[in-house]
């Protein structure tokens, strides 16, 4: 990983005083590229006990790129289920980047109902299904029924689902 004096100093400051992350996280892209890599390293610099509070704060006060960095960092941070509300927030948006990022490995904490609807939303808004972690293992008959119903609506209107949705239907037993 690239050495960068600003990032080295920022990581040290966050380790000493978690609150310092507020301004460093927002400004990271003006000192280090890619910004997301710097932001994720700052999140990892937080003391473990401070992680649940600050990921919530930084997500809720973040612009879209900051929110994305938080979502992508979740699987590797010391967290249990604390960040599930952030996934629900991202999945309520129509921002395709946020929706995709919410369905990484941390989405194992989503209940099956919420997860199915999230995958269906991906099909609906055109988020590539390759962004959904663990898709084949978790896809079930009920998801297949939901996607098939959407297919019927689309095809009745002379339209099609994205190609990856047809492939998904073929794979669900």
């Amino acid at each position: 990983m690239e050495q960068n004096a600003w990032l080295t100093d920022a990581v040290a400051r966050v380790g000493d005083s978690p609150r310092a992350i507020v301004r460093l996280f927002a400004a990271a892209g003006r000192h280090y590229r890619p910004a997301e890599e710097a932001r994720i390293r700052l999140l990892h610099a937080l003391p473990a006990e401070a992680v649940p509070y600050w990921i919530d704060d930084l997500y809720r006060h973040g612009d879209s790129n900051e929110k994305l960095a938080v979502l992508r960092a979740l699987p590797d941070l010391p967290l249990d289920v604390e960040a599930v509300p952030l996934l629900h927030d991202a999945l309520r948006t129509n921002d395709t980047r946020l929706i995709g990022a919410a369905l990484g490995p941390y989405a194992r904490h989503l209940d099956q109902h919420a997860w199915r609807h999230a995958v269906l939303k991906c099909v609906f808004v055109g988020v590539p299904l390759e962004e959904v972690d663990n898709l084949d293992q978790r896809a079930d008959r009920e998801l297949a029924v939901m996607v098939s119903a959407l297919r019927a609506e689309r095809e009745a209107a002379g339209r099609r689902l994205p190609a990856d949705a047809y492939r998904l239907l073929e794979r669900i037993p």
């Binding site: 927002a26 892209g29 003006r30 612009d63 879209s64 929110k67 921002d95 939303k121 808004v125 055109g126």
Partner: protein, 283 residues
């Protein structure tokens, strides 16, 4: 013709507008925080509004190949409502965002003591966060408002070259020109300024430190009047390079002073709209 609209309230516009703007050559916009017609009654309404300016609206613009930046402030009209005053405490955190390129719109509406205070506090924030300032001038009692505005700007200590004084006209342009501040002109269908009048002002005062915007919002306004002004300039004998300076290089120079104007993803040629993705979710 490539166009950077330095002042437009896209929150109030439709996706059809984005499509027409992209086809007309608009590649970048700055959306200043302002009022929404209906007065807001609590700081939470501003949080959602500011979040949209650094969240959903840039995403929406990107679907049409348009880069969206914002300016953040408590506007003068709502600064008069004591229920909205705590908004001043919310602002600093937004001023650190990558896509926030100025503090604004600040300035005067009815020139009250409350507006005085919000104006000077937010000019101080511009200095502290090393951002330019976008200053609205009042629509009523404008000449007096501009004088008072320039006094407050002078007292604040911000460099005049980092301030744009907006919504100027034939009566108020001269005084602002002499201060070294940038001069903003909002081209409207019937009121503030028209393309032919704008051409006359450019003839009289030159192209330096001039920003031409549509200020399109929820009122009667037209996001393509920047383009119409460029066409009027060409018809009046200005060169393509003159038009590019006024409609692209000037706003890039002004907002570039923020150090955050990342235009790397902006294409230089051809309309970008491919009808792709606000896809209405494919529905």
């Amino acid at each position: 013709m490539r166009i950077f609209d330095p002042h437009i309230h896209m929150t109030s516009r439709t996706t059809d507008d984005y499509g027409r703007m992209a086809a007309a050559g608009v590649r970048a916009v700055v959306e200043p925080a302002f009022w929404l017609g209906q007065p807001r009654t609590n700081p939470g309404s501003f949080t959602d509004y500011f979040d949209s300016l650094v969240g959903w609206e840039p995403f929406r613009a990107a679907q049409f190949g348009i880069r969206h930046f914002a300016t953040i402030a408590l506007n003068p009209k709502e600064a008069n409502d004591p229920r909205c005053r705590p908004v001043l405490e919310l602002i600093p955190r937004y001023l650190d965002k990558d896509s926030v390129v100025a503090v604004g719109e600040i300035g005067y509406d009815a020139m009250t003591p409350e507006e005085d205070e919000a104006f000077s506090v937010q000019l101080a924030l511009a200095v502290e966060y090393e951002l330019p300032a976008l200053v609205h001038t009042p629509h009523r009692d404008k000449a007096q408002g501009v004088k008072r505005t320039l006094d407050v700007v002078r007292e604040s200590g911000i460099s005049s070259g980092r301030v744009v004084v907006d919504h100027l006209n034939e009566v108020t342009v001269g005084e602002v020109h002499d201060t070294g501040c940038w001069m903003g002109f909002s081209i409207y269908p019937d009121t503030k300024m028209s393309p032919p009048r704008m051409v006359e002002i450019l003839r009289a005062h030159g192209l330096e430190r001039v920003l031409v915007n549509s200020a399109a919002d929820w009122g009667k306004s037209d996001p393509l009047l920047t383009r119409r002004t460029g066409e009027a300039m060409l018809e009046a004998g200005f060169s393509e390079d003159d038009v590019d300076r006024v409609l692209w290089r000037n706003p890039v120079e002004f907002y570039g002073q923020s150090g955050r104007l990342d235009l790397s993803e902006t294409a230089d040629t051809g309309p970008l709209f491919e009808g792709s993705s606000i896809l209405r979710g494919g529905s």
